[in-house]
């Protein structure tokens, strides 16, 4: 296929990213998302395509490879969504290209009802039915698809707009921490005791931003076996926040004194549940028993249109068991001893009270709406 052959160089950057993700050399969801966006930007800039479907197909291919390495294709989906939006603004005529319109034709579903009410960034494609009105982009008239004489004209005319869209995504990713922490001081009050686990950079930025205005105490649970809580405690205490470091076993014991639980998420699922670092289920369950509110801080790039139907407790990724039972205990390993070290926990939507994202605060029950706005339906299965 022509588009693939021409992107052999960008394939190399995809390979590099895939191997980095596989070996977990990219640490942190935001880093992974940033790298993905940069790679996709390269792919798009070098791509040669004659119509939108080829471009989408190409990006989908890349996305599938990345999802195999680390199952979170959110950034890919987001970029596809932006590309389609830009394309819709640019072309504005062909009814088939507008996904929103095509799906609303004669299909009654609450999803479409929800979509109709959403303000879009560009004028909604429905307006195009009214005929060719003056548009914001000057090149809309000149876009021709599948031009036999000049296969690149479509690509060339569309590319600058697409690059802008991708740059928007990049900017959003880079300012995630600032936007999430914008209203931190409204969520935390003086003399509160906050519990957190592990080392989430989003939560760290959130807490440090609130510390400028309020004085409060944070209790950090160690989160074995990664013990990332130690780093979090050191970082918070060096920012002047009064911190306590406790082992995970005492989460229930101290919960009676805690005012809020603030956690980070790895991925937010379509039903409002989330995947988070192991230990989150303990913290949220104990909080539920003591009626303590649970707040989750996450960037919007963590929203995933997937559901968790078959893995009730999210052991979808495992880490090295030697940090649980080291190799120095060799005589134990020889016998029939199984050592388990899962990476993530699945937390139900009923156990979370609010998600604080860079796009605002949302209860778990409205996560499905966010996903409808951010991603397109066809991209749910890359």
């Amino acid at each position: 296929m022509a588009p693939e052959a021409s992107t052999s160089t960008s394939h190399r950057s995809v390979d590099v990213l895939v191997s980095k993700l596989r070996r977990r050399q990219v640490v942190g969801s935001r880093e992974a998302a940033l790298e993905t966006v940069k790679v996709l930007r390269q792919v798009v800039s070098r791509a040669k395509f004659s119509n939108i479907d080829q471009l989408v197909g190409l990006i989908r291919l890349v996305g599938r490879r990345l999802v195999e390495a680390q199952p979170k294709g959110n950034t890919v989906r987001k970029i596809l969504h932006h590309i389609r939006e830009e394309y819709n603004t640019a072309t504005k005529g062909t009814a088939s290209s507008s996904s929103a319109v095509s799906s609303s034709k004669g299909v009654f579903s609450i999803a479409n009802f929800v979509l109709q009410g959403q303000p879009r960034k560009q004028p909604v494609a429905q307006k195009s039915e009214a005929g060719r009105t003056t548009t914001t982009t000057s090149m809309s008239m000149s876009v021709r698809e599948n031009d036999p004489h000049d296969p690149d004209s479509f690509a060339k005319s569309l590319k600058p707009v697409l690059m802008e869209a991708i740059q928007d995504v990049l900017d959003e990713l880079e300012t995630v921490y600032d936007n999430v922490s914008k209203n931190a001081k409204d969520h935390i009050h003086s003399d509160e005791i906050i519990l957190t686990i592990g080392h989430s950079k989003t939560v760290e930025a959130f807490l440090k931003s609130a510390a400028h205005y309020r004085s409060y105490t944070v209790i950090v649970a160690e989160t074995s076996p990664s013990y990332s809580g130690h780093e979090m405690a050191r970082s918070l205490s060096s920012a002047g926040i009064s911190t306590f470091l406790v082992p995970d076993s005492s989460i229930y014991a101290i919960m009676s004194r805690v005012n809020k639980v603030i956690l980070g998420a790895h991925a937010i699922l379509a039903n409002g549940g989330m995947f988070a670092i192991t230990g989150s289920l303990l913290a949220t369950s104990a909080a539920r028993v003591h009626s303590v509110p649970v707040v989750v801080c996450a960037g919007q790039f963590k929203l995933t249109p997937l559901w968790n139907l078959y893995h009730e407790f999210g052991a979808l990724d495992f880490a090295d068991p030697s940090s649980v039972l080291g190799f120095e205990e060799g005589r134990l390993v020889g016998k029939e001893v199984e050592v388990v070290n899962p990476y993530y926990d699945y937390v139900e939507p009923e156990q979370v009270d609010v998600f604080i994202t860079n796009d605002g605060d949302h209860p778990p029950s409205s996560v499905y709406r966010l996903i409808k706005e951010t991603y397109d339906d066809e991209d749910h299965e890359l």
Binding site: D191, I193, S215, T217, E222, T223, S224, P225, Y227, H230, A233, R234, S237, S238, G240, I241, S242, T243, F244, L245, V246, P247, D248, S249, S250, I251, Y252, A253, I254, S256, R257, I277, T278, G279, L281, L282, S285, A286, V289, E312, F313, G314, A315, D320, S322, S323, V324, L325, G326, E329, L332, K335, E336, V337, E338, V339, V340, N341, P342, Y346
Partner: protein, 459 residues
Amino acid sequence: MAPPPSLPVQPPNGPESRPPVKAQKEMSKAERRELQEKQRAVKAAAKAGGSSSQPNQKAAAKQAPPPLTSNAMPKKGGKLADTAPPRTPAAPSGRNTRDVKSATAALAENVPMNARGLRIFSHFGLPKPVSLAKGDIHPVILRLALQFSNFKITGANARCIATLTAFKTVIQDYITPPNNTLSRHLMTHLSPQISHLVAARPMSVTMGNAIRQLKLEISGTDIDLPEQDAKKALCQKIDNYIRDRIMVADQVIEETTGNKIKDGDVILTYARSSVVEKVLLGAHSEGRQFSVIVVDSRPMLEGKRLLSVLAEADIHCSYLLLPALGSVITEASMVLVGAHSIHSNGSVYSRAGTALVAMLAKQQSIPVIVCCETYKFSEGVQLDSFTKNELAPLGDTFASFPLTKPRDTLTLVNSPNLEILNPLYDLTPPTSISAVVTEVGVIPPNSIGSIPLALGRLL
């Protein structure tokens, strides 16, 4: 206050001794002591924080109660130290006093900020170093206290048996002084020994109950009995206590619980309980086929010991740390845990983390069974894990951090704004427990208060 007295007495070059010497003349005894504590804490903090966290902790703990008075102190100490440098001929001593002053001032700033956090947790039993023995402590007791404070003997049953065995030796070596009776004097002889043990590590409920029973037996000794016979009788009573309330009780619990284990069961247990270990080994030797999930956690990581014992017995086991519990809880068919003590409202006081295990299991409708002898019963109701708890010493006492983790990424000592707490116990509410197995039967948690009646005597 007025300028320092211009006495010709200048102590020889002791840079740190200069400000206290000057200060002693002006301040009262209590203020002097406080200033010295503060300077000691500052010195300890200045010493790259690692070596001795004890004086730091002690000073920090002492600073917590009088936060207001200590605020006034550094200012006075600072002012006096200020006038000291112009008098000191040696430059390094002047620099040192300035360092001490600035460090003290910095510490004073930290104290009000930390004071609130410290106060909330300040009633926890901070681990104290075993101080010099006051009075005549029997060597057996000295050894036992050291073993307790180094956590070589852990577990409610083990500690109680060790204490009673040590007391047997003490009683054997005891000689009634003239004009005294054994029944009255022995108790006063034992009291300092008991306090020494308590100073090493807070007394467990089992030890408390056993000692109370011992005191009852001692005061009930027949006055006319010759000393050697009285001592032999007491030792016999101690042996009986251990045999009846612990050993035989464990056997009954082992049988009762063993009957509840069926072939194909997956039993989940937390940390290491001596009773649960006996139950599992006993059931396995009777030929039942089951597998065990051992859940473990810092600070003590006792589950590894249980794991090795079970693995030696060829029982199929899984081992995981507490945060991973969510992923395996659905596979368990029964949860077996031990207890440190049970209270009359049915709440169970046991190793920190048990409450989390019981809570998750109950949510999944998995039966939670607590194996507990009746001598662990404690009158009174405990409401949450805060009213009574114990902290483990800081640092890597139990070698519980994995070797794969580089030590400099871990926080093992306190630093400004950061304090490490390792509570050893927590309280499981009766709502998370399905049943308590004792030697008098299987009891639902709300009937625990009737155990004394069931035993026919007041505990």
